[in-house]
Symmetry: C2
Subunit: 459 residues, 2 copies
């Protein structure tokens, strides 16, 4: 006897859940297509070495396949690295693509809050040369459109720049080799208090208190163009080339965000750092209101909320890590995390007690009489031949009441009923499931009559 | 430097390939929905024990995940076993579902002939009580509809019955414990000669020559109702309960196939055995004409052709293997193998040199002047807001010729061109990419004008 479960951190999708999910995908794909993207597909696993050295500390969460003789393989951890591998392998110089597929992370699952080990990512990326901040702003625009179209309530898109972070670390006196480590401390500011982050910087990352305090002054700031303008006046910071480039970039980005009409949801947040190693420029992360992480000093306490529902940034060096001659292809992209969004949509359907149809059947071919199986099959076959979605009961002699009830329960709009009378008259009794109205239709016209009436219902 | 490749036996899908694949999926899903199926999704991996003992000899082809602490997992080998697990786990008594997803087999890849290690299956299954052969016939009908709708040329759907095979083995004197082994020899008759199968039965499976010859007489027969009638008259065979039940079942099935209008492609083929362990009744397999395997005596010679593009059968015991109380849920289903079909479609597109659009962009927002970036962004933003699929060049000052050429190459039907003149006049110059006709449209009407003209093009 097998253990009856799906693997830890994974789940099945029921027909109802699949239908809700398809609705979410449609909104997302419509947006990606509105912005001119094409789509590709890549294998669920990659060579292990393709994934190595791309994810920093998170690499420990990668699923490896067993060595069964042959290549060493790992399940994909995201869709960005496979995309970069695809671009390099096919020597593509520019491409705008979306990819919706499952990715795999051996993380600690928190399934009630939408954190799974197998989950969908919906990625949109632009590879290839572009003048500064144009494509970065389009990615932010896309997040804005999707979160608005899905009607998920208020949200904020936090934006920052990796060069600005590097610059301010330099200015504050952090040694270069500690940049990434300190970065990951800063990134925790969305879920823990400054005093805890400061403590980690000093006790774990080895900074002195003064350096930590300088960093603290910067990274606790957020705003929009006002913050960028303020930083431009910070003479110490502006002496650092990276920081200056970062702030100037942010100004340009915020200007484009303004033109795209999305500035109301964009927050220039200097504590946003993002975990992944491969980002080189602008980074962003969208958080739903009411879903922001509650701050907590207790590391063991499970976080409340889910954090981001979308995130991304610029990664100009990743393709070069794969390209045989190190050819650089600048890239920027965004990934929409569907699971949390899907949980919200599902809860909404439950709350409203909405009836979601999981089949599209238009007609149930039925009979009140015994010995009508072959006649039911014949009629159903005619309907299929006319492109009508039709079903019949898989019993020789089903009860007519069971057939009525099934049509009602499954919201099948019509029943096509036959018996001796109908066969003699060469007719079919067409019954409207909702109104229970019955009409007699000549057998030769049944498909066209059903089509006309279906259209009338739709309108 | 990473090795630039996808894992052995796998491939990427380019935008063009993805578009062709989506077209094939649409035909298949339309058919599944026409027959009233709903869809589910299951994880890409299952507990290893869920898959164990379900696939006979083929179990060695299962991909295992590395033991990284925690559960032992394997990639799914097909969609049937996960479906049976789902049915048992959710205590479902009846369901008609389709599932389109990738499955994984560590087989010897032959990619030019559509044999991959990662490949799509499109499964349709009916679980739950049904009177004999009705649902079995519907599965055959579905294969017929899909292969016809895809216009893949002539095909044959071979049909047989596991009970008939068991019965004739019994009658020919095969000891019960050798049934499965002899079955797998018989199954090779589609790709090798009888004399080789006979030799294997004697030398490898340990039958005597007389028994093998008796089997040979039966399994080299094929036909339709005529063969069933002939077998009914075989007194020796009819004394065996299983064989009699098998032949009677075949008669009923062929009758339903006749009603469904598919008998012209159905061949009752007594050599069809199918490899999988879990089949208990009717089995079937569809082969495209010209794609049938060439017979060969040389075991080492690579087979020509691809064999089946669809297959399935009845598996009444599989759900019971998972159900806590062994509750039986009879099932029947069919799996469409998409890779071979996809190769044919792709070759057809190449042959006809068909231009497949991989993006749906409707308008390219362009300018012939410098310093128009912000104005282009503004106009594009307006179009997006009206639901129009629009793109613009990611350069500050692109050349107008480049923009014209891009629209032509990507088959973008319109260009919306702006410059100082248009800004002053509050207008947009709308250029038809194909005819090169240009009209001036008031800025306020640009979205509605584009929509009207797009509709006109479509019609």
């Amino acid at each position: 006897m097998s253990l009856l479960k799906t693997p830890k951190g994974t789940r099945d999708f029921t027909p109802k859940q699949t239908a809700i999910r398809e609705g979410v995908f449609k909104v997302i794909i419509d947006c990606f297509k509105r912005h001119g993207a094409e789509t590709i597909d890549t294998p669920v696993f990659e060579l292990k070495e393709t994934l190595m050295g791309k994810y920093g500390e998170d690499s420990k969460l990668i699923y490896d396949l067993q060595d069964q003789g042959g290549e060493l393989l790992s399940l994909r951890y995201d869709l960005t690295v496979p995309f970069a591998r695809y671009i390099a392998m096919n020597k593509i110089s520019s491409m705008k693509r979306y990819h919706i597929a499952k990715v795999y992370r051996r993380d600690n699952p928190a399934m009630t809050r939408g954190r799974y080990r197998e989950f969908y990512q919906c990625d949109f990326d632009i590879a290839g040369p572009a003048d500064p901040m144009i494509t970065d702003a389009e990615c932010i625009k896309i997040v804005y459109e999707i979160l608005s179209d899905l009607k998920l309530g208020n949200f904020v898109i936090k934006v920052n720049h990796r060069l600005l972070l590097d610059g301010l670390f330099e200015v504050c006196g952090v040694p270069q080799e500690k940049f990434r480590a300190v970065c990951s401390s800063v990134d925790k500011l969305d879920k823990t208090f400054w005093k805890d982050v400061r403590e980690e910087m000093i006790n774990v990352k080895g900074l002195d208190g003064q350096t930590a305090d300088k960093i603290g002054k910067y990274v606790q700031q957020s705003g929009a163009m006002d913050l960028a303008d303020k930083l431009m006046k910070d003479e110490v910071l502006m002496k650092c080339k990276a920081a200056k480039e970062g702030v100037e970039g942010m100004k340009l980005l915020l200007n484009f965000c303004d033109i795209f009409g999305v500035l109301d949801k964009v927050r220039f947040d200097m504590s946003l750092a993002r975990g992944l190693d491969y980002y080189t420029g602008v980074i962003y992360e969208a958080v739903l209101e009411g879903a922001e992480l509650k701050k907590s000093s207790d590391k063991n306490q499970e976080q409340v909320g889910v954090g981001s529902v979308a995130g991304g940034g610029r990664y100009d060096e990743l393709v070069g890590m794969f390209a045989p001659k190190g050819t650089k292809v600048p890239c920027v992209g965004v990934s929409i995390g569907i699971e949390r969004i899907f949980s919200i949509m599902e809860a909404r359907v439950e709350e409203k007690n909405e009836a979601i149809r999981t089949v599209e059947t238009e007609v149930l071919v039925a009979s009140a009489q015994a010995n009508m199986l072959e006649e039911r099959l014949k009629l159903c076959n005619e309907l299929w031949g006319s492109g009508i979605k039709a079903e019949f009961f898989y019993k020789r002699d089903p009860k007519i009441l069971d057939q009525y009830q099934h049509a009602e329960k499954s919201q099948i709009p019509f029943l096509a009923v036959i018996g001796d009378k109908e066969l003699k008259e060469k007719s079919v009794t067409l019954r409207n499931t909702k109104t229970r109205e019955e009409i007699s239709v000549p057998r030769a016209n049944i498909a066209s009559t059903i089509k006309t009436r279906l259209k009338a219902i739709e309108e």
